[in-house]
Subunit: 222 residues, 2 copies
């Protein structure tokens, strides 16, 4: 009964798909703020008011695009995990994230840039968003023990570390916090490159990124 929907429901799903497809095209061309429901409706040959039947609000459309974006990045991140060497897996993940960001910059900005003002991410986005994080967690968990750190995390952070350990079971406190730092460093590097902070400074972007991520792999004890 899942595939045998009524004709109405099938055409509705098709409309939703067409709307998001066109929206993605416009997003890639003009960025998030350039998204216009009226322009999408125009391109589809329908009245501007009719599009609100499918996405009551522009935020709803953005949410759909964000979920799709997280899933696309999650797909890429998971697909990158073919190697068995932890360092190789980490590097593959890093480059998967970077390639996604460079290939679909506006979509990446939607996910990891400043949130669109007035927009509050609903709960539906956290699941897809977690997929990429889980890939990282698995790498850390599979890599085994990490060299001891001279200053372990303070006791105050114990509950947070415990919660984070859910995505990387069996990992030491030190490795958990280092993983978070490396994780933020990865997205910091990608965002800096994408948002122009490296303009007029770093020319060999890919090599620089690769070198930095290798350095972080050692920092992680991989």
């Amino acid at each position: 009964m899942s595939a045998a929907k009524t004709a109405r429901e099938r055409v509705r799903a098709e409309m939703v798909r067409e709307i998001t497809d066109i929206a993605r095209t416009h997003l890639a061309r003009d960025g998030a703020a350039g998204l216009s429901l009226r322009a999408i409706a125009r391109e589809m040959g329908m009245a501007s008011s009719a599009i609100h039947r499918y996405f009551p609000t522009k935020d709803d459309l953005l949410t759909a695009l964000i979920i799709d974006g997280y899933n696309a990045l999650g797909d890429a991140a998971e697909a990158s995990q073919r190697d068995q060497d932890p360092t190789g897996r980490w590097l593959a993940l890093c480059h998967a994230v970077r390639d996604f960001a460079l290939g679909r910059p506006h979509e990446y900005a939607l996910l990891y840039g400043s949130p669109v003002p007035g927009y509050r991410a609903p709960a539906d986005t956290v699941g897809p968003a977690l997929r990429t994080t889980l890939v990282c967690g698995r790498i850390i968990a599979d890599a085994g023990p990490t060299p001891p750190d001279p200053t372990p995390p303070p006791a105050l952070l114990a509950p947070d570390v415990e919660a984070l350990r859910q995505v990387m079971p069996g990992v030491s406190d030190v490795a958990v916090t280092r993983a978070v730092t490396a994780w933020t460093a990865l997205f910091g590097a990608v965002s800096f490159e994408l948002f122009g902070q490296f303009d007029n400074t770093i020319t060999h972007r890919r090599e620089f990124f690769d070198h930095g991520m290798r350095s972080l792999a050692r920092y992680l004890g991989l």
Copy 2:
């Protein structure tokens, strides 16, 4: 001859100041996309068209706000450098950046978040933007030699490293690339916290950040 401007020029400068002040208020309340030239003009009791005499375009207003923002962050970064211990200076810088971001989130987003679509930063912004980076460079340069890294940067990166050494004279190749990685990690951590990636995950944000930055200090060999 710098202070003794004509009366017209003085009132003009005052108008520009008032516009940017009101704009900053609106920015803090509604974010960058919520900025409205008409709303600012309304609050000043002037016609919406008159504001274009001072800022021909919305982008020009944004540029002014961005330059002010970089300078405010640069002030905070420089003011944080009282300590003599390299690790202390690094931590002070990190917390200065984080405090700025938490205190003026929309302004931080303007500087380090996704660029406003269609907006291209003019050259006037790179000078103020560099101030904060220079603080970091001085810390690294003052700290002295770094422990050797098993894998130095590839030869291809030599020119980039050389260019980066301008902001941290006398620093080894390894330390230069590590500094960039730590630098991106700092802003990655701040952006993740500010843009909600740590929601429902990390509760003791300040302590977690502090611990991560301390770990990066050791990574930097401070």
